[in-house]
């Protein structure tokens, strides 16, 4: 029994060492996809309230599994965590301070690295490559309403609590 307390303290200290820096919850996050979706409930079929775009900052209000309740420009709703990053997305690479961009862990530069310019350059070197169908298939869009109607018509029913 006498040894119990010091061991407990040690374990606590070890945990503290490991989790230092991870414990602080993020208050704001950035949209890391071309077009995000803020929905009225944490579900992929829920109504879309707003579509924040790449680099937009959202305030995190609550976590629920893979979903985050966010606030952005007066709209509150739910976004899937995969659409968000803790990094600040800076939209214009040229205008950014050199020193801050060097610490890449906090900042992501939009349009950096493999971008439209590199694709263009690569295309000019490989003239046989045709992006026509890539562009066409990117326009194949299915809305939440279409998904819902499709599932219903085919009697495809997600089991309760199956979708994270």
């Amino acid at each position: 029994m006498r040894a119990g307390k010091p061991i407990l303290i040690t374990v606590f200290l070890c945990l503290w060492v490991v989790f230092t820096g991870f414990a602080q919850p993020q208050k704001t996050m950035s949209v890391q996809v071309k077009e995000g979706q803020i929905r009225n409930t944490p579900s992929f079929l829920a109504k879309i309230l707003a579509k924040p775009t790449y680099g937009d900052r959202v305030e995190i209000i609550q976590d629920k599994g893979a979903w985050k309740k966010v606030a952005s420009r007066g709209v509150q709703g739910w976004m899937h965590a995969s659409a968000l990053t803790t990094k600040t997305v800076v939209l214009r690479a040229g205008a950014t301070n050199v020193e801050t961009t060097a610490t890449g862990s906090e900042i992501a530069l939009a349009g950096k690295g493999f971008n439209e310019e590199v694709e263009k350059q690569y295309k000019s070197l490989n003239r046989n490559l045709d992006y026509t169908w890539v562009d066409r298939m990117e326009r194949f869009q299915v809305s939440s309403d279409q998904m819902e109607a499709f599932l219903k018509q085919g009697k495809v029913t997600p089991p309760e609590g199956a979708v994270p």
Binding site: I7, K34, G111, K112, E119, Q121, V134
Partner: protein, 303 residues
């Protein structure tokens, strides 16, 4: 007690140090190569080494935006080998199922979204780019006797995307080279020489991925993992996971030995069946659903 604490502390710092050092030495090597080839000057190389430390610390690969551009070109390469099947009803149907499945995956939000396209080929094959573009051949669609089987095919490809198998096919040295060049862009706008060098790295990245995708295939373990992800996705949406079992059964009959397709890049259907059963999926025939089957035949009856 103090000893225990010390052990904890040193293990923790060792873990941190070792991962950082590996990345940094790899970066030193890559900048050395770039410098030798005359792509970048000595002072640029020095600033690269500095910035790479930051990249190594974050240990992150590419932004979703960069994956998007990688995926577009991988898609263009696939479409250079297999022509698109220009059939609106077929592609709409495949996108309805595919995009719905993607929404329940662990990675529903991807930079440019998920998009599916049928390829006009009798080969049994499918390809997924890291950016969410999924291609399936008519030959593979013919292995599906019902919608649950088609959903299994698409869910398997989504599995590869959510598990990032495409990005993992990029060679380590190339990954470091790319991240190093990209980190340099943080410091200054790239000149035409740097863009040329980045384009070269981009080309290498594309060949690494398409090499695995079209020629070599992923590791067997990656295929089994994608099957497992497919079973999960099917359950989440409400499809029968045995859609996968039945599809693999038909595929086994349709595959030609030594054919230029799935047989080369995937484990044999029997091995995949054994593996999904080992992971706990019991076989029971997929029940017939009249409205589901009607729309399946309407879209794919003549595929």
């Amino acid at each position: 007690m103090r000893r225990l604490l010390l052990v904890c502390l040193s293990v923790h710092s060792l873990l941190l140090l070792s991962s950082c050092q590996t990345m940094e030495s790899a970066a030193t090597l890559a900048t050395g190569i770039g410098q030798g080839a005359g792509v970048i000057s000595a002072s640029q190389a020095e600033s690269l080494r500095k910035t790479t430390k930051a990249v190594a610390r974050s240990a992150e690969e590419f932004t979703p935006e960069q994956e998007y551009y990688i995926g577009r070109t991988v898609g263009a390469v696939v479409l250079g080998t297999y022509p698109a099947y220009d059939h609106r009803i077929v592609n709409e149907y495949v996108n309805l199922i595919g995009q719905t499945l993607a929404q329940v995956s662990d990675l529903p939000a991807i930079f440019g979204g998920y998009h599916f396209l049928v390829l006009d080929s009798n080969e049994i094959n499918a390809f997924a780019t890291p950016s969410g573009l999924v291609f399936v051949t008519r030959g593979l669609l013919r292995c599906c006797r019902h919608e649950d089987a088609l959903a299994a095919v698409l869910a398997h490809e989504i599995g590869h995307i959510q598990l990032r198998h495409g990005m993992q096919a990029i060679e380590k040295a190339r990954m470091t080279e790319a991240l190093t060049t990209i980190a340099a862009e943080g410091a200054k706008t790239l000149g035409s020489r740097e863009v040329a060098s980045l384009t070269q790295t981009f080309g290498g990245t594309i060949s690494d991925i398409t090499g695995a995708l079209i020629k070599g295939g992923y590791a067997r373990s990656s295929e089994y993992a994608a099957d497992q992800a497919a079973v999960t996705l099917l359950r989440r949406v409400g499809y029968d996971p045995n859609g996968l079992t039945e599809m693999l059964g038909v595929m086994k009959k349709n595959l030609r030995a030594g054919g230029p397709d799935f047989a080369r890049t995937h484990p044999a259907p029997d091995d995949r069946l054994a593996e999904i059963q080992k992971k706990g999926l019991r076989y029971a025939a997929v029940p017939a659903h009249a409205p589901r089957q009607a729309r399946f035949l309407k879209a794919l009856g003549n595929i």
